[in-house]
């Protein structure tokens, strides 16, 4: 083992941390938007991710059966479809359920949890209990080798770029568009926003469905990393909430910082301790930080 090899491993380990960061970020973004901006705790967030993953799986099966020539290019289309389907379902859920419960935050918790169970069983009935994996285009697999001893997984790079694009898109959307302005105004003062002519109900629906759409993108991206089962969502949701709560609920920057912190802590601890102990140490670290900063890393400064 020479210095150069150690250096390679250092670089790859750094990438492993960044890769985990991008995964956590994608998980948390949609939730942060819904939870942070609207105060709705969406327990079905994981199931929206699973919807995105299943959409990708469906696309892959369809392409494989009917147009194998399209296999190398279907994946980006599947991601867009995953966004659209999840966003549509999100809008439907907002219209049918969430909007009746805005004044009862604890009830939305229960209602969205019920929704998550319904969705899980729906996936189970349609796709079966077995976990599925879409056939991925060849260019997404394998590794990128800048030197002989460094292997950077291409799927990791892909998820990283996607997470970056989604985050940037969301930032631009929130801070540079008229809709983002209306959304932020509604969050700050709903009555006043209504009085100056903002259709707050429409703002709510858009925000919720975009949050769900981002979950769909996350789900589609995760098919490059793992498999999808009816209850995959319930595994994602823990990490997603961890990111949002640790970051400070109402703050996109907070989610960014918290995803980064958790990912680095976990991958470094996993490297120097071992799998399970690394996870335990990470969770302990989060608990301790939250004891001293109960509002998360970046608490929202709102005058009460």
């Amino acid at each position: 083992m020479n210095i150069q090899e150690l250096w390679s491993i250092f670089i790859m380990q750094g990438f492993a941390g960044i890769s985990l960061f991008s995964v956590l970020l994608l998980m948390g973004l949609g939730l942060a938007l819904i939870f942070g901006q609207m105060g709705v705790i969406n327990m079905a967030h994981g199931e929206f991710m699973a919807l995105g993953a299943y959409t990708t799986y469906l696309c892959s099966s369809l392409v494989q059966d009917h147009a194998p020539a399209l296999l190398p290019v279907y994946f980006p289309i599947a991601i867009v479809l995953a966004f659209i389907l999840s966003a549509l379902l999100g809008a439907l859920v907002e219209w049918g359920m969430i909007r009746h419960l805005y004044k009862r935050p604890l009830d939305t918790l229960l209602a969205t949890w019920g929704l998550s169970l319904i969705l899980q069983q729906t996936y189970r009935s349609i796709f079966g209990a077995r976990e599925v994996t879409p056939t991925l285009p060849e260019w997404l697999m394998g590794s990128f080798k800048p030197t002989d001893s460094i292997d950077i997984p291409i799927n990791g790079v892909f998820v990283l770029l996607l997470a970056g694009a989604v985050t940037a898109g969301l930032m631009v959307f929130m801070f540079k568009t008229a809709f983002g302005l209306r959304l932020r105004a509604t969050v700050q003062n709903r009555l006043m926003s209504g009085a100056v002519g903002i259709n707050t109900k429409m703002v709510d629906r858009m925000a919720f469905s975009i949050g769900c759409g981002i979950a769909g993108i996350a789900g589609a991206a995760f098919t490059t990393i793992g498999s999808t089962g009816p209850d995959s969502g319930s595994r994602y949701i823990v990490d997603a909430f961890l990111v949002v709560v640790f970051g400070g609920a109402a703050n996109l920057l907070g989610s960014l910082a918290s995803a980064f912190g958790i990912a680095q802590a976990q991958s470094i601890l996993e490297f120097f301790l071992e799998g399970t102990k690394g996870k335990v140490a990470t969770l302990l670290f989060i608990v301790v930080v939250l004891m001293f900063r109960p509002q998360g890393l970046f608490p929202s400064k709102v005058r009460s």
């Binding site: 077995r130 990393i225 089962g229």
Partner: protein, 422 residues
């Protein structure tokens, strides 16, 4: 298949004096013989003295697996194989002239749920036997229930050993059968000296790796350069893969289960750890898992199992055909699926040997029961420990998701409490 002489045969033996039980046993044996000659069952009162769900024409058994949750990817095959065996037994006249009815319960990959459902099957449904469980965690959860309610469980999975119960027949291999011969082979073939042990974080991988470590250190005189565990359902193996690259083991010894498998092998491949550069031996990947992982992510890696779908013998040809006819051309058969298939057949053979559905009598009669129709070739229940004599095979995975059998051991005696390995 109604018994005409039920009352005649049952009535003289209601007394409780000491000789009656012996006499009953004798009579049962005779009745058992009659069954095979006339394909007609003995009277219910005689084959069922403990209030099991046995009628003149039917016997009810339970099936307890995870149809949902993270283990569903693995357990679905067992559910199907057990059902296939039961259908075949029914088509051939049933057990002691009785058609088998199945009550299916879903353990949902959740161990307390397994215990609860086991209790329901034994106490409420009074099933004559249960085919079920997959993970050791689920078996450990139901074991106290089976022992307290005196049920009979046919457990299909290869597992860590260190267990023996009157109420369980283990139709998969215990750890020493699966681990030792496999490690011996890889050490000899690959001149392997250093091993990296990886597992999902629960009892089977931990105990199996403990046995593997003892064998590597004490017998093979090799070194274990790393040993670690990841939670069930874990999907991020980046740090682990870097550690493997740092320590460069001769062999990665992997016991990752469930959905984590898919992430693990995909990420190994993405990180450039492939069979041309790295030897990997696993005892947790069967044809079932490969279906999810994708053969292209595993090509050239080895599995140590007692059964592979590609095995070439008449029993297996018939089994594979029947399985595909029932579940579709695309379905695959893994080690545990095959072991699941053994359960109902071994139970039938034992019941017929005992001439009774009573759990105590089955437990006693199990010794030496053979099944020559086994797709893996031949199995026999051990005389004392309720495990099976079986062979170990090493398969090398191909991109088509099937393994090529490279090595076959002799019949290995099950040894659930191996001396020097605990």
């Amino acid at each position: 298949m109604k018994m005409k002489d039920a009352s005649i045969m049952a009535s003289p033996h209601k007394g409780n004096h000491p000789g009656s039980r012996l006499l009953l046993g004798l009579l049962t044996a005779v009745a058992g013989l009659t069954v095979s000659l006339h394909a007609e069952g003995p009277p219910t009162a005689q084959v069922n003295t403990t209030g099991l769900a046995v009628t003149d024409t039917t016997v009810t058994v339970g099936q307890l697996h995870s149809a949902t949750g993270t283990m569903a990817i693995s357990e679905t095959g067992s559910i199907q194989a057990e059902q296939l065996a039961i259908d075949q037994i029914n088509a051939a006249g049933g057990v002691l002239g009785r058609q088998i009815k199945v009550i299916k319960e879903d353990g949902a990959s959740d161990w307390p749920t397994f215990a609860e459902k086991a209790k329901k099957l034994l106490v409420k449904d009074k099933v004559a036997s249960v085919f079920g469980c997959w993970t050791s965690a689920s078996r450990k959860a139901v074991l106290p229930v089976f022992e307290k309610e005196n049920g009979m469980l046919y457990y299909p999975t290869f597992y860590e050993g260190l267990e023996q119960s009157k109420n369980v027949i283990y139709t998969g291999q215990e750890a020493t059968q699966q681990i030792i011969a496999g490690l011996d082979w890889i050490a000899k073939e690959k001149k392997a000296k250093t091993f990296y042990l990886i597992g999902s974080d629960y009892i089977w991988p931990r105990t199996s790796n403990k046995i593997a470590r003892k064998h590597i250190e004490n017998v093979l005189k090799g070194t274990v350069v790393g040993e670690e565990y990841y939670a069930l359902g874990h999907t991020q193996f980046g740090s682990l893969i870097n550690k493997i690259k740092l320590k460069k083991p001769d062999v990665i010894y992997a016991i990752v289960v469930g959905g984590s498998n898919v992430s693990f092998y995909k990420q190994l491949k993405a990180a450039g750890i492939t069979s041309d550069k790295q030897t990997l031996l696993t005892i947790s990947v069967t044809e079932d898992e490969v279906l999810g992982i994708g053969g292209e992510n595993l090509t050239g890696f080895y599995s140590a199992m007692k059964y592979f779908q590609s095995q070439d013998n008449p029993n297996n040809a018939a089994f594979v055909k029947a399985f595909k006819d029932k579940y579709g051309e695309k379905s695959v058969i893994g080690d545990v699926t095959q072991a699941g298939y053994l359960g109902p057949w071994l139970w039938k053979a034992t019941v017929e040997k005992a001439g009774s559905f009573d759990v105590d009598k089955i437990a006693a009669a199990s010794s030496g029961v053979e099944f020559k129709g086994a797709p893996e070739g031949y199995v026999r229940i051990h005389d004392t420990n309720h495990h099976l004599w079986s062979k170990l095979r090493i398969g090398q995975w191909g991109a088509d998701g099937q393994a090529k059998v490279l090595y076959e051991s002799g019949l290995i005696e099950p040894d659930p409490f191996p001396k020097g390995y605990q």
